[in-house]
Structure formats: structure tokens, C-alpha cells
């Protein structure tokens, strides 16, 4: 198969044979589908969980007000270097497509990216790199702002997996809150390697 390394030549065969030789009694995998938990107000639940993990949430009622509302956010006002890949929003002053080496993103203060959908159960947003030239931008930016459309909110992870179309994109991730660590004395420090803040904005 794919390997060309000497150490590997017989290992595949011998490992798989050893496993097969155990002849364990077959056991059936549990069924796939599960209803999961449901919420009367999905965005309210999402907001509650997101704020409990240190993220901020904002909902904008009318389409025309989105840009004006975002412009007034402290995180937007105070950021000098911004990248934005959300259509119709013009907050970016750094064009990610013009940057060849992701290492040059070190000065990025704020990244505004589209989120595919939100999950109420755990306050997570699913993000793919569809519109993002550099995956690292999601982690290198000092602050991250995700824009999700209001209809795009599911109750739980089971529904989330049903929405994920795999086989198309090679990369995606759930983001739930700002980056954090508790490695020093079991105490929480917000802003480990990734963004120091996360804002999720739901728009019509």
C-alpha cells in the first residue's frame, strides 16, 4: 500500500492478523439516529451557553442595521488590522487573498468570518475554510467575530452532524468560546494560543 518505509513493511499485515486472530464475538453498533435534546428558543439557549464559556452574543433584527451595529462594537472599533470575508460587510482592511504567507498574519487584530450554523446545546459554531484563504487566521487573530444567519441554528449535535456534508471539504471545526487554558494551577486564563475573545452575531 502507500507506505514505503522499511519499519512498516510487515507491520500492517501482522497487526491486522493479530487483531483478527482474537475472534471476538460480533457486537452490533447502536443505531445512528437520535432525537437529542430540543429547545423552545434555540438562540436564547445558544446565548446562555456561549456567555457561560466567555463568548459574546448579539442578534441584529433588520438586515440594514447589521453594518451599523457591528461598527459600534468595541472589539471592531478598537481593532486596527481587520480581515473580513462575510459578503456585504466591508470591515476588512487586510485582504487575506493578498497575503501569501500565513506567517504575515501576525498583526491581525480582528477576523470576521461567516459561521455555517450554530448549535444551541453547547454554544458552538461550525466554521469551514470555504472563504478563508488561511486556516491559521482563525487562530492567529487576536479577536474573532463569527456571523451566522438567524435560520441557521440547530438544537443539538445530532442535528449538526446531519447538516455536515462530508466528502466535499477537508476541514471544518466547531468553535465554542474564546481560546483558554487552565494549565497553570487549574485556574482559567482566557486567550491561550487562539483569539482572546469570540463574538457571535446572528443576522437575518
Amino acid at each position: 500500500m502507500s507506505a514505503s518505509l522499511p519499519a512498516d513493511k510487515n507491520a500492517r499485515q501482522s497487526i491486522l492478523e493479530r487483531i483478527r486472530s482474537r475472534e471476538l464475538p460480533p457486537r452490533e453498533l447502536p443505531p445512528l439516529f437520535d432525537e437529542g435534546i430540543r429547545y423552545a428558543d434555540r438562540w436564547a439557549q445558544f446565548q446562555e451557553v456561549l456567555s457561560s464559556v466567555g463568548g459574546q452574543f448579539l442578534s441584529v433584527a433588520d438586515r440594514d442595521g447589521v453594518a451599523a451595529t457591528l461598527a459600534k462594537l468595541p472589539v471592531v472599533e478598537s481593532s486596527r488590522c481587520r480581515a473580513c470575508t462575510v459578503p456585504d460587510l466591508h470591515f476588512g482592511n487586510l485582504d487575506l487573498n493578498a497575503v501569501d504567507d500565513p506567517r504575515d498574519l501576525a498583526g491581525l487584530d480582528l477576523a470576521i468570518f461567516p459561521g455555517q450554523f450554530a448549535v444551541s446545546e453547547n454554544g458552538a459554531v461550525w466554521v469551514t475554510d470555504e472563504s478563508i484563504r488561511h486556516r491559521a487566521a482563525l487562530f492567529i487573530a487576536q479577536h474573532l467575530l463569527l456571523v451566522v444567519r438567524q435560520p441557521d441554528c440547530v438544537d443539538n449535535m445530532h442535528q449538526a452532524y446531519q447538516r455536515l456534508a462530508f466528502g466535499e471539504r477537508g476541514y471544518g471545526l466547531f468553535i465554542s468560546g474564546p481560546s483558554k487554558t487552565a494549565d497553570i494551577e487549574q485556574s482559567l486564563v482566557i486567550g491561550a494560543h487562539g483569539p482572546r475573545s469570540l463574538t457571535v452575531v446572528a443576522v437575518p
Binding site: 500500500m1 502507500s2 507506505a3 518505509l5 512498516d8 507491520a11 500492517r12 501482522s14 497487526i15 491486522l16 493479530r18 487483531i19 471476538l24 464475538p25 460480533p26 457486537r27 453498533l29 447502536p30 445512528l32 439516529f33 435534546i37 451557553v49 464559556v53 500565513p102 506567517r103 501576525a106 458552538a124 475554510d129 478563508i132 484563504r133 488561511h134 486556516r135 491559521a136 482563525l138 487562530f139 449535535m157 445530532h158 449538526a160 452532524y161 462530508f166 477537508g170 476541514y171 471545526l173 466547531f174 468553535i175 465554542s176 474564546p178 481560546s179 483558554k180 487554558t181 487552565a182 494549565d183 497553570i184 494551577e185 487549574q186 486564563v189 486567550g191 491561550a192 494560543h193 487562539g194
Partner: protein, 476 residues
């Protein structure tokens, strides 16, 4: 061999004693019950049907392991179909050789790593360094202990044993200035320091939390964001996993993500859950040029057929450590292996040899707190008993004094007259000497080993036989 066995046993006792006497460490361990331990309990309470959910996660593991070869073959095909490469390694040395060769063949010299217990298990960092490859751990905890030259003391919090003062002392020489004893400042320093390492690295090495057979994806869970930086900046991504990390279907992931973060840190979901499928594909804007997956056996296929197969259900959350009264007293380092706590007492003997680590299955009170905390309900106490039995069968005569004592005991029990006489003699002598204290603190030479770590019950001053005769006469 016997000497070596005694040695590790002594080392364990010595390390435990030192840990118990270390006030700083005791303070840290004492907090565990209020931090991770409490969060774990609260997370199960807050999750509706948590028992059924854990049961489901467990049954997926169980069914997957029953047909493991098929799922591994599917995983391999899916990874290859998405442009990745797959390697198998019989043991740690083989896995290290594969990884070092992948790096060296390309003339690369700088590696960044995200936290991976499997890479600790195979001592990958030492192998890379020996091959002249600069390797930097990027998880904060791992980075701190890498600089300090320590072993991880906890499965999810490798630097748990260190105070902020210790961390400042360890990192100050790297900074070239005295860092303040302040968590935020220390984390900010590590963040700056590691960013430059990310930027310079050619290769990123990660573990695998879950590998999905049907899609060929690997799932990486982190709170800091370092796992993603490790795979986003370098041009090559190498992932290393044990054979038990495969799950059959994409949807199975939902169950494991539900329990993993709750058990590990009490979170509903970790901050970053990345799902990575192969290297950068045509039409994608970004991604590594190459993706290599190293699948490690290292004794696991042997365990698969034994009563200890449940140890392969483990998803490395560390919940059993936080719950364990032994771990919370002696800390992670006393266990002497990469894995500590109750699950370490099972895994270390299995991966590194039962004879060398014969004391670990005994380093437990079998109270069952570990099993109650486990997100996949591994029956750790039963496995520890199993290992004790195995030890007894494999090393029948490891103490001559003990076997002599048992033979003498058996000889006395077989002869009622002798039993009667010796119990009479014992109450008359030892029983009367210890009339006021029911415990013997120290037995004389030859038997002293028994009372080194526990007291011996003194014979009663009056035999039951005599007590019964006296009392049954008084009552009608």
C-alpha cells in the same frame, strides 16, 4: 529480575512518601476535588440521561473493538482516498522510526507538537531530538514540563504538579528576564514564545482524539487552539494514534464529544473541535501539503483478546485521576509511567510490562470512584483485581518468607488439635502482652516487612472458643 522488581516497588513507595510530605503538591492535589473533580460530577448531573449517553458511547467502543480489523482497513482506505498516507507500527520504536524518517527524508529540522499521550507513550520527543530534530511542545502545560524536563503528572493537565511560582522559575531563563508570578503574564509569555516556533516549524505532529473510518477524518480537541496552529502553519501534518482510536461512523462522534469534554474539564464542548480530512485538496484554499497517519499497536492487539480489553475503551479524559483518593494523595509522578492514576495503574503494566510495574495494580483501594467518573464506564477496579490475579500466577514465589508463612498456616489449619493448641498459646502470650492495644505496630525481624506499611491485628486475650463456652453456660 527480582531485584529490579523490588526496586520499582521501592521507588513507588519513596515517591509516594515524598509526595505526601510535599506541602505545595498536597495543596495542589487538594484542590483537584474542587476543580476538575467537582466539574466532572456537576457535568454528569447537568446532562439529562447522562447514564444512557455514557452507556451508548461505551457500546460504540465495544462494537468497534469487536470488529477492529475491518474498521482499521476502512479508515486506511478513506485516508488514502483523500490523499493521505497510512503507516502501521508494531511498537513505539517502530513508530518513532517512521516519524523521524518522514521528517529527515524531507530535510526538515523543526517540529511543533500538540499534546498527545500516545507520543508520550512512545517517547517520541527523545527520538526526534536524537535524530537532531528540534521539537517544541505547544500545549502550555506540555511546553512548561518540556522546558523543565518533567514527565506529565496528569493526563489532561500535564503541569498540574507545578505552582505559578514554579512555572515562573522554569520559564524565566527562557525569557532571559524574571517573569512575574502571575498566571496571565506567564500564559502571555508562552503565547508569544510559541508563536515564533509555529512560524518556523516545517512539520506539525499531533495525536488523534478520534479517527472516523467512513470519512478518513481525524478529530482533534483542544481549548488553547494550539492543535490547530500545529496543523495550519507547517506544510506537513503527521498524526499518531493507537489502534483503538478509530470510530466507525461520522455520527458516532456526537456521543463521544458529548462525554469527553464533560469528563475532562466539565465543559459542554471543548473550545476547538477540528475535523481534518486529508491534506489540502484541489480547489481548497489552504491546508498542509502532506498528511501522514501512523497507527500504533504497542501491545494493544494483545489486550484485545484478554479480559482487560475494556482498557482500550479509554478516551484519555483524566476523570478517573481526579476522582481517585490515591492519585489525590500521591500525584501523577509516583506512578512512574506516562499514564497515571487508576487508568495508569492498568495501562502502564499492560504497555510496559507487568513484572516491572507489579506494584501499580496494588496502588488502589478498589473504592470504585474511578468507574463512577469514567465517561465510558470502564470497570477499572475489576481490571486491577484481574491484574493482581495475573501477577500471582506469573510470580508465584516472589517472597520466600510469605510462602513459608502460608505453608505453616495451612499445616496448622489441617490439624484441629494443633490449631486449638496454638490459638491457646497465642492468647496466653501475645494476646496478654497486647491486652491494651489491639494492633501490633512492629513485628520482629523476619516478619518486619509485613508491618512496614500496616499494623498487624494482635490476638485477642481470650479465644472465641473460650468466650463461647463461658457465655453459653450463663445463658439458658
Amino acid at each position: 529480575m527480582t531485584d529490579y522488581v523490588r526496586e520499582t516497588h521501592r521507588e513507588f513507595l519513596k515517591a509516594s512518601r515524598a509526595a505526601v510530605a510535599d506541602r505545595g503538591l498536597q495543596q495542589i492535589l487538594g484542590r483537584l476535588g474542587d476543580t476538575l473533580g467537582r466539574k466532572n460530577r456537576e457535568a454528569w448531573q447537568a446532562l439529562p440521561n447522562s447514564d444512557a449517553i455514557r452507556e451508548r458511547a461505551r457500546s460504540i467502543k465495544d462494537a468497534t473493538l469487536a470488529d477492529l480489523a475491518t474498521h482499521l482497513a476502512t479508515l486506511e482506505n478513506s485516508v488514502v482516498a483523500r490523499g493521505g498516507q497510512v503507516y502501521y507500527a508494531d511498537d513505539g520504536a517502530a513508530a518513532c522510526q517512521i516519524i523521524c524518517q518522514l521528517v529527515k527524508e524531507r530535510g526538515f529540522q523543526r517540529v511543533v507538537k500538540s499534546k498527545s499521550m500516545t507520543s508520550e507513550e512512545i517517547h517520541l520527543n527523545a527520538a526526534l531530538e536524537q535524530a537532531g530534530i528540534e521539537t517544541v511542545e505547544t500545549d502550555f502545560g506540555e511546553y512548561i514540563i518540556q522546558v523543565a524536563g518533567h514527565r506529565p503528572s496528569h493526563i489532561v493537565g500535564p503541569a498540574l504538579h507545578l505552582s505559578a511560582r514554579d512555572v515562573a522559575r522554569i520559564l524565566s531563563p527562557v525569557a532571559g528576564e524574571t517573569l512575574p508570578v502571575e498566571r496571565e503574564a506567564l500564559a502571555a509569555f508562552a503565547r508569544r514564545q510559541l508563536r515564533s516556533k509555529f512560524a518556523a516549524a516545517e512539520v506539525g505532529i499531533t495525536g488523534v482524539n478520534f479517527a472516523i473510518a467512513e470519512t478518513g477524518s481525524i478529530v482533534l480537541v483542544s481549548n488553547e487552539g494550539n492543535a490547530r496552529l500545529t496543523t495550519a502553519l507547517p506544510r506537513i501534518h503527521i498524526a499518531v494514534m493507537g489502534i483503538e482510536k478509530v470510530i466507525p461512523r461520522f455520527q458516532d462522534l456526537a456521543w463521544f464529544l458529548k462525554v469527553l469534554a464533560r469528563a475532562a474539564t466539565g465543559q459542554k464542548l471543548s473550545v476547538y473541535t477540528s475535523i481534518i480530512t486529508g491534506p489540502r485538496a484541489a480547489g481548497e484554499l489552504d491546508g498542509p501539503d502532506e498528511f501522514h497517519l501512523v497507527i500504533l499497536d504497542n501491545g494493544r492487539s494483545k489486550i484485545l483478546g484478554s479480559p482487560l480489553r475494556e482498557s482500550l475503551f479509554c478516551i484519555r479524559c483524566g476523570a478517573c485521576l481526579n476522582a481517585c483518593p490515591i492519585y489525590r494523595n500521591v500525584g501523577g509522578h509516583a506512578y512512574g509511567g506516562v499514564y497515571s492514576g487508576p487508568i495508569g495503574a492498568v495501562l502502564t503494566p499492560l504497555y510496559d510490562g507487568l513484572a516491572e510495574h507489579h506494584h501499580l495494580p496494588h496502588a488502589s483501594s478498589l473504592c470504585g470512584a474511578c468507574q463512577a467518573a469514567c465517561p465510558v464506564k470502564i470497570q477499572i477496579p475489576q481490571m486491577l483485581i484481574q491484574l493482581r490475579e495475573q501477577l500471582h500466577e506469573e510470580t508465584p514465589n516472589d517472597s520466600r518468607g510469605e510462602s513459608r508463612a502460608y505453608r505453616l498456616w495451612a499445616a496448622v489449619l489441617r490439624r484441629p488439635w494443633l490449631y486449638r493448641w496454638s490459638s491457646w498459646w497465642a492468647t496466653r502470650t501475645v494476646g496478654r502482652w497486647f491486652r491494651r492495644q489491639p494492633w501490633i505496630r512492629r513485628l520482629p525481624a523476619g516478619l518486619a516487612g509485613w508491618t512496614e506499611h500496616r499494623d498487624f491485628p494482635a490476638p485477642a486475650p481470650l479465644r472465641f472458643r473460650d468466650w463461647w463456652r463461658r457465655n453459653s453456660r450463663e445463658q439458658p
